[in-house]
Structures are given as structure tokens and as C-alpha cells.
Symmetry: C2
Subunit: 209 residues, 2 copies
DNA sequence: GTCTATAAGAAGATAGAC
DNA sequence: GTCTATCTTCTTATAGAC
């Protein structure tokens, strides 16, 4: 993983700076000159590493697609298998579920790559269908699928009244999705959102038990 | 209201076309030439109506700010007073609440102005703080505030166990927010989202009664 | 692999005729 | 209020020296 290496190659630094600028301004508004300046080179040097501006963007999407497992890693749970994870939740006290929810939330908000990727896809999603599908898949579908599998497993546990795991997944995850959207737009509202998140999970547990 | 007039002035048509292009491509990617072509005039003619491209954008934001009441109007409820609206809900059968939720959802998705404004703000929100605040206010804060007031009133009704109206508002509204985000990215998933929305509201009512 | 110089084109915007 | 012609600046990208 890039962020683990101490020294980044020029190619990697270009991707890193481009990601920052694309996520703040969008692909079109961020110029090659800005990227080059952020890297500390002149614009022509950039073309020794990438054929075009578009190729930088495509390379970023490739990196993004290869980071599917970020969600699970961030939760320190087993790989991508929600069924395995479920056994951890079954006998988990409420406070630990809240702690996990908050850690997940904070990770999505503060992990440099995750947050910049999300912002970039958010503001580029309407430009073409492939980007829209990637946005949906990364931030809605895969998250819901994971939660759905999890709640399907939890439905077997005696103290949770889950009859429709998909709806339960939506009701658990949607507030996280919305509060993240809020904090990406205004970082100063993180603490307030964490409080709301905790209240949501507490109430969610109460409603389903 | 613009959409009510049969004939639009050139100035209005410029705003209309600009809104479409800004909402699909973003401010920077949509060129003045594209806007002019969509209107059916040459780029220089456009400058007789607006001093600059930026002024078109600013004018659109002004229109947007003057449409606060759209949510309430779309629900065919009384103005902006959630407390008044609450009396309608108190003795409302579940199916009617679902119908209202779906109509609200469809309105946000299909009303031409509402949907284009939302897309535009979504993809422009990270470019400056004022846009971010407008995004938050329009699509999160004001909606939550409305729902909160509503659920505060509904808490008084005997058959709803609402102890924390703010959390309840988040739990009711967040799925709508998320499913709308999904459908704005991919219109073909509207029916699936309407089904999910209905299941959510049904389950929501069941959980809180 | 970096630079300077520069091309080729598109962008926002203006002048002035009609 | 529209047009053609034009200006200036910025943008992506290339050529070629070091």
C-alpha cells in the first residue's frame, strides 16, 4: 500500500497529488499545471510518467478498484466474509458495536485515500455511467450487501427480531452514509455526527431487541 | 415559477440550459459555447444577458435559494409548518404514509428543477464552503429539522414510542437520502428503490409502534 | 527524467456591424 | 439582441537540449 512506503516514486506522487486535486476541484477544473506544481516538477515532466491527463485519472480508478477490501480491513474483521464476522457480533455488548460503528465512520472520514477517492467519485459520478456504477458499487451496493449478510446471520441469534435483513441493512447503514456525506461537505461537524451516530446505533439496537 | 410559463425569455432559457449542463458535467466542464448552443444562440449573445459565466452560476444559486418550500409543496401539506402537518399524520393509515413517502421520493427524483439543482450542488459542493453549506442545508439539515419537528409532534400520539425525535428523524430520512443518491446516479434503479423505500417505511412504522 | 521553449487548440470574453 | 470577427489567456501536449 502506497501510504505504507516511506519514499514515493514520482509516478506515485503524481497519482497522489492528482487525487487530491481531482477530489477537491474535479477532473476538469484541476489542471495538469496544478498537479505538476503540487508534485514539484514542471508540466512536461509529467508526460514522461503518463501519456495524458486522462491516463492519470484512469490509473487512479484502477488503484481504487483494487482497494475493495478497505472496509473490512478497517473494521479489523476477517476478510470479506460477513458470516464469519457475524460470530463476533452475536455476543457483543452494545458499546462494542457502537465503538466499531464509530471507528468505521472515522476511518472512512480520515483515511486519506478512502476519503479522497470518495470525494472524487462523488463529484465525477454524473460524467459517465462507469463512474456512476463505481460510485454505487463502492458506497452503496457493497456496503449494503455486507450488512445484509451480517444481519441475516444475526437474525439467527435469539435476541434480534430481524425478518427482512435487506431492510435492516438499509436502516443501519443509511444514517452512516448520510452522516458521512455531511462530514465530507463540512469537516467541522464530525463530533456532532459521531454523537448522532452513537444515538442511532443505540436506538437501532433497542428497536430490534 | 419558471416551469409554469409557456414561453421562456432568452435569459430564462440560458439559466435552464446552464442548469442542465452544470448538473451533468459541472461548472468547469460545461462551456459557455455548449450553453449557447443548447439555447440556440451564439456565445457572444449570451453576454448581453449575463456579464460572465460565473454570473449565470450565481443566478442559478439565487433561484435555488428561493425554492426552499419545494419539499412541503411537493407533499401537498400545509406550507412549512411541520406541526400543522403532524395532525394529518396522527390518524393516518400506514399505506397513506407510504404513499406520501413514495410521492416525495418521486418528486425529488423527477421534478426537473429539484433534481438538476441537487445534482449540480452534489458535484460542486467541494469547490467552496458556501456551496457545501447550501448542499448540507438543502438536503440534510432542513429535511432533518422538518422530520424532527414532525416526530416530536407524533411522539404525543399514543401509538408511537418516540423518545428521541432527532434520532428518529435520521432513521426515517437517511434511507430516503441514500436511495435518492443511488437513483440520481442510476435512474434505472428507481423501481427497486421505491420497493426498498416502502419496505423501510413499513418496517419503520412496525418498529416504532 | 528533468528542464525550456513552443505548438495547437479551446476557453471566456469584447468590439462593433446589423 | 443577435451576429461575425477577434483578443487574450489558459490548457493539454510535444520537441528537443541537458
Amino acid at each position: 500500500m502506497m501510504t505504507d512506503t516511506v519514499q514515493l516514486s514520482t509516478k506515485e506522487r503524481i497519482l497522489d497529488c492528482a487525487l487530491t486535486l481531482f477530489s477537491e476541484q474535479g477532473y476538469d477544473a484541476a489542471s495538469v499545471a496544478q498537479i505538476a506544481e503540487a508534485v514539484g516538477i514542471k508540466p512536461p515532466s509529467l508526460y514522461k510518467h503518463f501519456k495524458s491527463k486522462q491516463e492519470i485519472f484512469t490509473a487512479l480508478l484502477d488503484v481504487m478498484k483494487n482497494r475493495y477490501d478497505v472496509l473490512e480491513k478497517s473494521m479489523h474483521l476477517n476478510g470479506t466474509d460477513a458470516l464469519k464476522d457475524a460470530s463476533r457480533y452475536e455476543h457483543m455488548p452494545d458499546d462494542e458495536l457502537i465503538s466499531i460503528g464509530k471507528r468505521l465512520f472515522s476511518f472512512f472520514l480520515h483515511d486519506s485515500y478512502t476519503s479522497r477517492f470518495r470525494k472524487m467519485l462523488t463529484i465525477e459520478q454524473y460524467r459517465n455511467k462507469a463512474l456512476a456504477q463505481l460510485y454505487i458499487q463502492q458506497y452503496i451496493d457493497s456496503a449494503l450487501e455486507y450488512q445484509k449478510t451480517l444481519f441475516t446471520a444475526l437474525a439467527a441469534a435469539k435476541n434480534l427480531h430481524i425478518t427482512d435483513p435487506e431492510t435492516t441493512a438499509i436502516q443501519f447503514y443509511a444514517p452512516i452514509f448520510m452522516l458521512l456525506s455531511l462530514c465530507y461537505a463540512d469537516f467541522s461537524r464530525e463530533q456532532e455526527s459521531l454523537d448522532r451516530l452513537e444515538k442511532h446505533i443505540r436506538q437501532f439496537i433497542k428497536l430490534y431487541t
